[in-house]
């Protein structure tokens, strides 16, 4: 363990927040604000003898906007984590157990104690440490009304990294008897084009019959992998988690004459021009899917 780890470990078992009363007692205006925002129409919350929504417990003791930083365990821990580069925070788990409902007039206090701080973990958000605490909520008489086990991830943000903790694969192609050969060839890094055996016409996207001569007999030819940019879009919205945006999607006209939809790589949108020469590059997207993408052909011009 490094000295830094030791300093973090010293927080375990320590109260981060000494028993701190909520700014206000449980009250109807804040309940109203909450249920309106949540779209919750349960009549118990605003009726003749209102109770607060159970899930609202944590809200009573939030520090509020622009609250002054009070020297204490919480801010010391946040500062120490920031020192380690863990400047961002996202809550990951919450486990509330409610002893009794609170009602207007109850004055809730909270105490928070660190239970564990994990070693650094690689996450989809970036390298980070999970901090687990137990918050105990008490009423004015000091009786426990609820407990909340609370886990946050304190992490080092990765610039423009996708936020999803798990990597989402590209959408699966619907593979059937008419197109399987193309995706199988792609897995072998071969760009093929379907060819009519009778009249030798190439066609893409493939199909079972030749529109020129009505033959159902076909084979494939292997394309040179060279072509030109026929058209393109720069996709910004909506964002699918499998892709990085802005995403360059193109229609490429192969030297063999057929066109296909693909992605562009090794180039940015402002450098694209219709007609520019391109060549294939293979993207092994995941164990099941390999796709041809295209990059500009290096030219002698500077």
């Amino acid at each position: 363990m490094s000295a830094y780890d030791d300093r973090l470990a010293a927080f375990v078992g320590r109260p981060l927040v000494a028993l701190r009363p909520a700014a206000d007692p449980v009250n109807v205006p804040m309940i109203r604000h909450w249920v309106e925002a949540m779209g919750d129409t349960n009549p118990r919350y605003l009726g003749a003898s209102p109770v607060a929504p159970a899930s609202m417990m944590q809200a009573w003791t939030m520090r509020g906007f622009g609250a002054p930083v009070v020297a204490g365990g919480f801010d010391e821990l946040v500062a120490l984590l920031a020192e380690g580069g863990y400047t961002s925070v996202v809550a990951t788990d919450s486990d509330f157990e409610f002893v009794r409902e609170v009602v207007p007039g109850d004055h809730v206090s909270v105490e928070e104690v660190v239970e564990a701080i994990s070693p650094e973990k690689a996450t989809g958000l970036g390298a980070g440490r999970f901090v687990t605490t137990l918050k105990t909520y008490c009423d004015a008489a000091g009786s426990v009304v609820a407990t909340q086990r609370w886990r946050t991830l304190r992490f080092q943000p990765v610039a423009s990294s996708p936020v999803e903790p798990v990597e989402t694969p590209r959408p699966r192609p619907a593979v059937n008897l008419d197109n399987a050969f193309w995706f199988e060839a792609a897995r072998e890094h071969r760009l093929v084009v379907q060819r009519c055996l009778a009249c030798k016409t190439l066609r893409h996207p493939p199909g079972p019959a030749c529109p020129e001569c009505q033959s159902f007999d076909w084979d494939t030819v292997e394309a040179s992998g060279r072509g030109t940019l026929y058209s393109f879009v720069v996709a910004h919205h909506p964002r699918h988690p499998a892709f990085d945006y802005p995403l360059l999607i193109a229609v490429v006209e192969l030297d063999e004459g057929t066109r296909l939809i693909t992605n562009l790589t090794g180039v940015t949108a402002d450098a694209l021009s219709i007609g520019m020469p391109l060549e294939v590059e293979w993207l092994d997207a995941d164990p099941e899917l390999t796709l041809p993408v295209f990059r500009p052909v290096a030219t002698l011009e500077h």
């Binding site: 619907a174 197109n179 026929y230 058209s231 720069v234 699918h240 802005p246």
Partner: protein, 390 residues
């Protein structure tokens, strides 16, 4: 002129409100719209013997019929390919009536497209299947090409490249639509016109498409009642005669991604529709006093003007800049505000507006409208109508 031209008429229109969250089932929206259209026609539900909707509709005719009091049906059909179906529903209805298969046909479309399944979010995570329709997406979604805006953007970029059109040329359509919506109390964007600068400043969705090139998403329903021209004479409203009604699917047609044709700067399926409309009606572009052109995305309005013959290939940007589509121009466009301004009802609200133009009751009535052309979804197999005064 064919015997089909003018043989039938739209005599009733009815719609729900257009909203972002209807709070009602899609079936209820359909029932409300259908009921309103039948009442507007001065007919009773029991008079209806034919029903036509979209394959995309989630409420089959039997569900609507048994709820609104429609009894025996002798004709029912559905038209495929999303918004491309709109005018096709009227074409089916008119053909059925002309052939004697039915007398009173209701066409409708209703959905919670905003609060329910939003098409704009794309196809990437739709359930997998290996039929031909689904397999067609195998060439798109693994590359992140998944949404209608992206599909249209690919056409739009090529159109700009070939004809020198700019994003501002697309934006002018948006500005026109929003100006018309601004004076239409039923429009979502009532009282909220935009400037070209606002269009240019709006965020990218799929370059070259800005946010304000994309239509809104809407919850609502719209229905129409079609009868023979003869029967229409006995009904309360000025009939909107179906002077032309046609569908079109072109060579090497794909669903929004016909990128493999020799040229993709046109939309030949719309040319096919236009040619049929002019041949059926004996009319031409210069005989139209207004146009309701499908505007889910602005760029496709330009090739529509070209395919229908209002201007030559690549000339639409100039045609628009010259003010032809303004309320006082030669071809007032989307007087209801279009799908960018009024509501996205898969084109059916545009047909209702064309009926109002013929009746003379549009909130933005541009004077006497003898004939109006209406189109359905672009980039897909599509359809069109010419509606005219008797």
């Amino acid at each position: 002129m064919s015997g089909f031209s003018g043989a039938t008429a739209i005599v009733g229109i009815g719609a729900t409100e257009f909203s972002k969250e209807s709070g009602r089932s899609e079936l209820q929206l359909a029932c409300e719209a259908v009921t309103a259209a039948i009442a507007d026609a001065g007919l009773r539900p029991s008079d209806v013997d034919g029903m036509v909707t979209f394959t995309a509709e989630t409420s089959a005719e039997i569900h609507v019929a048994r709820n609104v009091g429609i009894g025996d049906l002798s004709f029912f059909s559905r038209v495929p390919h999303g918004g491309g179906a709109a005018c096709g529903t009227v074409a089916h209805a008119a053909a059925a009536i002309h052939a004697g298969l039915a007398e009173v046909v209701v066409c409708w479309r209703a959905f919670n497209e905003r609060s329910g399944e939003r098409y704009g979010l794309g196809q990437a995570d739709r359930p997998m299947d290996t039929n031909a329709d689904r397999a067609a997406y195998a060439w798109m979604t693994p590359f992140g090409l998944s949404t209608p805006a992206q599909w249209v953007g690919m056409f739009a970029r090529r159109y700009m490249h070939e004809y020198g059109a700019t994003s501002e040329d697309f934006g002018r359509i948006s500005v026109i639509d929003r100006a018309r919506a601004a004076t239409n109390p039923k429009a979502h964007f009532f009282g909220r016109p935009i400037t070209l600068e606002e269009h240019q400043a709006s965020r990218w969705i799929a370059e070259p498409l800005h946010l304000l090139d994309c239509c809104q998403e809407t919850d609502g329903g719209q229905a129409l009642v079609v009868v023979s021209a003869e029967r229409a004479r006995d009904l309360p409203h000025v009939p909107a005669l179906v002077v032309g009604a046609a569908q079109g699917s072109g060579h090497d047609q794909h669903m929004m991604t016909s990128y493999y044709r020799p040229s993709i700067s046109g939309i030949p399926e719309m040319g096919l529709v236009g040619n049929q409309l002019w041949a059926q009606s004996g009319l031409g572009p210069s005989d139209m006093q207004a146009a309701v052109l499908y505007d889910h995305f602005t760029p496709f309005v330009l090739p529509q003007l070209e395919e229908l013959g209002f201007c030559g290939r690549g000339e639409a940007a100039d045609f628009i800049r010259d003010g032809h589509l303004e309320l006082d121009g030669s071809l007032p466009l989307n007087t209801h505000g279009g799908q960018l301004g009024e509501a996205y009802l898969h084109g059916m609200n545009g047909i209702a507006e064309a009926v109002r133009l013929v009746r003379g009751t549009s909130v933005n009535q541009p004077g006497d409208v003898r004939n109006v052309v209406v189109t359905a979804g672009t980039g897909v197999p599509t359809s069109g109508l010419v509606l005219g005064a008797a």
